[in-house]
Amino acid sequence: MEKTVNQKAWFLVLPVLLLVAFSAVIPLMTVVNYSVQDTFGNNQFFWAGLEWFEEMLRSERMWDALGRQLMFSGIILAIEIPLGIFVALNMPKSGFWSSFCLVLMSLPLLIPWNVVGTIWQIFGRVDIGLLGYTLDALGINYNYTQDILAAWVTIIVMDVWHWTSLVALLAFAGLKSIPDAYYQAAKIDQASRWKVFRFIELPKMMGVLMIAILLRFMDSFMIYTEPFVVTGGGPGNATTLLSIDLVKMALGQFDLGPAAAFSIMYFLVILLISWVFYTVMTNLDKREG
C-alpha cells in the first residue's frame, strides 16, 4: 500500500507565509478591492461592480498589448531555444575552453535589466552607438525611435543577447549528463550526426529544455525594464507590452480601477503559467527519479 502523505510539515512555512502576506497577499487584496471601485483621489471610493473587468475585456488596447506580448514571447522563444541548443552542441565539452565559454556566456545573465536596456539604447543610437552608426553608414535606414520594425528588431535582439546563454547553459548541462555509452552505441550503429541529435541528445535534453522554455516564456511575458528603457513602449504603442501598458494605466493615468482589473487578469494568466511550470517540473522529477 502506498504511504499517505503527511502534510503537517507545511506548518513550517508559516513564517514565510506571514512575510508573503505582508509583502504580496495584502497588496493583492487591495488591488482586488480597487478593481471593483472607482476613485477620484483623496482615498474616496465608489462601488463600480464588474464594470472595469468588462471594460478591460472589451478594451482593444489590452488585447493589442496581449497580442504584442504573445508575439514578443513567441519570437524570442523561436530564436533563443534553437540557438541555445546550437551553441550548447558546439561548445567544447571539457578542459579550459569549456570553462572559459561557460564564464563568458554567464556574463550577460549577470547584468541588471536596466543596464542591459541602457547598453542597447546607446548601442543602437545612430549618432553615438556603434550598431546604429554602422547600420547607418551601410545605408540601412535604422532608427528605433521612429521605425516600428527597427524598434522590434532591437528589443528582440537585446533579449536574445541577454538570455540565449541561459538556454545554452541549461542545454549544455543536459548534454553533459548523457553517458558516453549512448554515443558509442550510436557509433557502432553508424548513426548520422542528425540521428544522434534526434534520438539521443534531444530526448535526453527534454527535461532541461522544458525548464528553459517555461522560464523564458514566463520571464518574457512579464518583461518590463529592458524594452521600457530602450523604446519606452514606442514608436506610438508599437512595443508597449503588457506590463508597460499596465504601468502607464496605473501610474501614468492613475486609472486605479481599470488598472487593478487589468492586473488581476494579468496575474491570473501568470498564475496559470506558473502552475503549469510547477506541475511539469515536479512530474518530470518524479518520472526521472
Binding site: V5, I26, M29, V32, E54, L268, L272, N283
Partner: protein, 90 residues
C-alpha cells in the same frame, strides 16, 4: 484598514476563500490522503484540486463576463459543475 478600500462583496469573497483554505488544511491534517492520478495524468491531492478549481473558476467567470456579459451569478453554476468534475476526475 481604510487604505485597503474594503467593500462587503470583496470581504465576503476573501472570507469564502479563507474558509475554504482553512477547511482543506483541517481536512489534510485529520484525514491524510494518498495523491492520485486523474485525467490530466498528474498527481493531485485535495489541495491541488482546490487550487485547480479556484483558478479555473476565475477564468470561467472572466469568460462569462466577456462572452455572455450578463447574469454573472449564473457563472457560479458553471463553476460548481467544474468543481465537481475536477474533484471527481482530475
Amino acid at each position: 484598514m481604510d487604505w485597503m478600500a474594503w467593500t462587503w462583496p470583496t470581504a465576503i469573497f476573501f472570507a469564502v476563500i479563507a474558509t475554504l483554505l482553512i477547511t482543506f488544511t483541517v481536512l489534510a491534517i485529520k484525514f491524510p490522503e494518498t495523491p492520485r492520478t486523474g485525467i490530466l495524468r498528474i498527481e493531485t491531492t485535495r489541495g491541488d484540486r482546490l487550487f485547480i478549481t479556484l483558478l479555473g473558476s476565475a477564468f470561467i467567470n472572466l469568460a462569462w463576463l466577456g462572452i455572455v456579459g450578463a447574469h454573472q451569478p449564473y457563472a457560479l453554476i458553471v463553476c460548481l459543475a467544474y468543481a465537481v468534475t475536477v474533484f471527481r476526475w482530475v
